[in-house]
Amino acid sequence: MTNHIPVLIITLPLIAAFLQPVTGFAGFKLRNLVIITILLVLNGLLFMLVPDVALQGKTIYYTMGASDPSQFTQPGISFPVRIVLKIDSFSLFTGIIVGVVTLTTFLFSTGTVKEDKRKSYFSTLFLLFTAGLMGMSFTNDLFNFFVFLEISSISGAALVAYRTYRKHAPYAGYKYILISTIATTFFLFGVGICYAQYGSFNIQYINSVLAHSYLDKVAMLFIIVAMAMKAGSVPMHMWVPDTYAEAPASISAMLKASGMVTLCAMFRFTFSLFGPSSSGAGKINYETLGWIVIVLGVLSMFIGVTMALIQHDVRRLMAFHAVSQTGYMLLGVGVGIAVFAKGDGGAAFKAFGKMAMVGGIFHIMNNAFYKNLLFLTSGVMERRFGTRNLNGMIGLGHRDTLTTVVFMIGALAIAGIPPFNGFDSKLLIYESVYKFSPVLAIIAMFVSVMTLASFMKVFYSSFMGPRRDDLIVEGAPLTKGTKAGLIILAALIILTGLFPGIIVDGIIEPAVTALTQIR
């Protein structure tokens, strides 16, 4: 039983998704209970793997359909022939983000997403989205990754356009699937180039025989561009605000998680697929690649935050902040990549490069939590006032104390104020980036200040001010599930902020080690 955990994590939501039409007949309460149980079991399975994988540094393989699934290669064959799932610390870290975000988002959406009686489109698509993201985190096979990418983008587009009665929601869904299809086509093209040379789709096998030829660089370009497009980094960021603004609030949070998973996959491809191979043949130029990532990151930070300052639509404002926060992760990991293979025998990497990567990866987790929280509170605001325009909102603090407190926690966390988790990862990034190049650290701090300014604007205009009950469209109190989702996320933010050492030592540091180790 225990050695089947990797495949259970992917198949549980998949089976549950196709059970939805059946459980939908039993009524909403029972159906929601079943889904919440399944998501809790999913999180339990993920945390069961933490002692083995993260603390002891083991790598778990799962070969689909083999007699002994825990073996990487089958007896008599020297290379992997089947679909292999691989759980190392880094993919476990990605999986934990998906698990926590999915659970809290679904808790929130039980109270906010209305469905007609006995229809379960939303929950089916939601669970399919979860299955796609889990598969993307754990698979070790390029074509399998493509299939999960398509599952997540098709169900994601359908969810973005879920409220088809709204005027612009279907067009937002169209934009999302358009950009996803272009990205997956590019990705498949890159995979084809890899397959043409090495005759395998297995990431680890390709890495072990990689020749670093010119064609490999072309394949790498295709794959990295596809991943950056889906993650919403700067040159391809224009779909982000339109899509995030029109989707239901819980789906904006899920799209953010999807962006984080794609970003993690991009880092995994940079190191595990196209990294230095065990055969010792040539290397990619890490310094150039690192600088490309750093420039993309700084541009993302700056353009995202400046565009956010002038927005009046609360969801578009948060979406531009999502672009800006992606920049921090790219900056942190980019510094790590740039000094990864420098000529000084790894001294610079040990001195500050690894810390920069820890900061960047830690920021992915923190950002997933507080951005999720902010998107969910924006959903509450949108429900209360019936509009997303900040000019039409005032004095929500008099009515919704919980939402106010939770929004403040999220806003202070995203701005990097000490007791919350955004501060820890941002401090790691500032310190290490300062040693690499002081100018970049100063830009990062400046962007942080602008973030605080922009969220103070939101807080001042929508929560402060006189109580105006005539503007409230829907005054029903929040349901228990909605409150639970918000409280869990706020508690996670505070706990991570107060005890960052446990998380960094337990999950983040092993993840970075697994990512950068040279096989």
Partner: protein, 119 residues
């Protein structure tokens, strides 16, 4: 020699479809362009699998076991998956385009730009 034609076709189809995604403004035309891109990737994989003077990867067609010479079967199996996925994507995109038309009365991307000024 033979495969050069095919690779040139693949690359020109990809360039054609990406340029038309950038320049075309009709939502349904964009779906056609994306379908062409998918077909080009499919053709790329099938061309990879092709070996001259060999048979289709069906066991009964193999002339004799000792001189078994087949094209690669696995890319063909993967392309079957990709064709079906492409159909799903096309169907979803067309549905969204039709609902967009019903809500806004146009399929032109330039006229749909009003989305940004939505309150």
């Amino acid at each position: 020699m033979l495969s050069i034609f095919l690779y040139v076709t693949v690359v020109s189809l990809l360039i054609l479809s990406i340029t038309s995604v950038i320049y075309k403004r009709n939502l349904i035309k964009l779906v056609i362009a994306l379908n062409i891109a998918e077909s080009s990737v499919n053709l790329f994989f099938i061309t990879l699998a092709y070996r001259p003077d060999s048979t289709a990867p069906i066991f009964t067609l193999a002339p004799a076991l000792q001189e078994l010479r087949m094209v690669l079967p696995s890319p063909q199996a993967l392309i079957l998956t990709n064709i079906v996925i492409g159909f799903a994507t096309t169907a979803l995109m067309l549905v969204l385009a039709v609902i967009t038309y019903k809500n806004n009365g146009t399929l032109d991307i330039r006229k749909l730009k009003g989305v940004e000024d939505h309150d």
